[in-house]
Symmetry: C2
Subunit: 213 residues, 2 copies
């Protein structure tokens, strides 16, 4: 494996960048694995398949790493941290892995995904995998369901919202800064939704009506 | 089309039931469209493809209808309804479409999906489509983001949790009853998560630290 690395340095990263470039230029469906390998500096199809199951998976290569980063940050949060604090720490741990040179690729990636139903499905699945990773890590900390799931969903929303804004901006602000804003807005939203809870008896009424017979 | 309906009554519903049966019996990958059509009472492949794009879509045939039911219920909720009350009304409108005779098929469906990565992806996408439908309907009512998205996520969680419990139970309780319980638990969870907000300044601190340079 050391020998392989000497011949194909950063093959994985080069393949990801080549794939995003080609998908953006000529479309996802029209691009072949051969073209991606070639664009990545004369790599081969065999090298491509050593790294990825298919051309779709190139775009979601970070799923496993991102899940691990999120789960580990939640596990490492101080015992005193609230569920949302732990999720916030996880989101910031993930944003830290996105340096400024990833911004333009991220922008292209969102455009490519936005044009393909197949990729939108895959992106939805990635979000659910990231949520499950945080959910599991929160439960390990003793957070009960459904609070753990809800907090995990908020983390996914915070990262997704921050990523979309970061890639769409050109002001040089870091991804973490957008994430801090998204987390604050989401905290405000759950407070706002919770405020209405005194009147929420109407909901239970509807539930009873639906099962009265 | 009236003529077609006379020849193939309830073809769509029969195809769905046949597909779920076969997937449960012999596996999703091993089942062909021909077998599904045959099991559905001697229908043809042509009839199958008149109703569904492929064998995967049979399992998610309800996506469009369910999105519409959710969105319309939110639109029809009283002006005074809070976002969570509107989402609760939507969840109950959806549970009302699931009669007792769907319970066993629902149970099989969850088992089949649980065994296939491809189907889990598709299911995640369906959840995101349902959430988007509620999100859009809430924004139409003037609910701001991200409260609309968060409330929509809670609705998806409530329905999904209720559906899993309903299909796993044998006590004859209606899906709506489980949904009422899930909605109450989720309301409790956001209240609990919100309680910690006074100490949430630590999050903003982490955000600042992440962008200090």
């Amino acid at each position: 494996m050391v020998g392989m690395a000497r011949w194909e340095p950063n093959a994985r990263e080069r393949l990801v960048r080549a794939a995003v470039d080609l998908f953006a230029e000529q479309g996802y469906d029209a691009t072949t694995v051969n073209e991606i390998a070639e664009r990545a500096g004369g790599l081969t199809k065999t090298t491509f398949f050593r790294h990825f199951a298919d051309k779709r998976e190139v775009l979601f290569a970070g799923q496993e790493l991102h899940s691990r980063v999120l789960a580990e940050a939640i596990a490492a949060a101080p015992e005193s941290a609230s569920p949302l604090e732990a999720v916030g720490a996880a989101v910031f741990a993930l944003t830290d892995t996105f340096t400024e040179d990833r911004r333009e690729m991220g922008r292209q990636l969102l455009v490519v995904i936005g044009k393909s139903a197949e990729l939108q499905e895959r992106a939805a699945y990635k979000r659910s995998v990231l949520a499950d990773a945080m959910d599991g890590a929160l439960r390990e900390r003793g957070v009960a369901e459904p609070a753990a799931s809800v907090a995990a969903d908020l983390g996914v929303r915070a990262f997704g919202g921050a990523f979309a804004r970061w890639t769409g901006s050109a002001d040089g602000r870091a991804l973490a800064e957008f994430a801090g804003e998204e987390l604050a807005r989401l905290r405000g939203a759950i407070t706002e939704l919770g405020w209405h809870r005194e009147s929420a008896g109407a909901l239970d009424g509807a539930g009873d009506a639906g099962t009265a017979d």
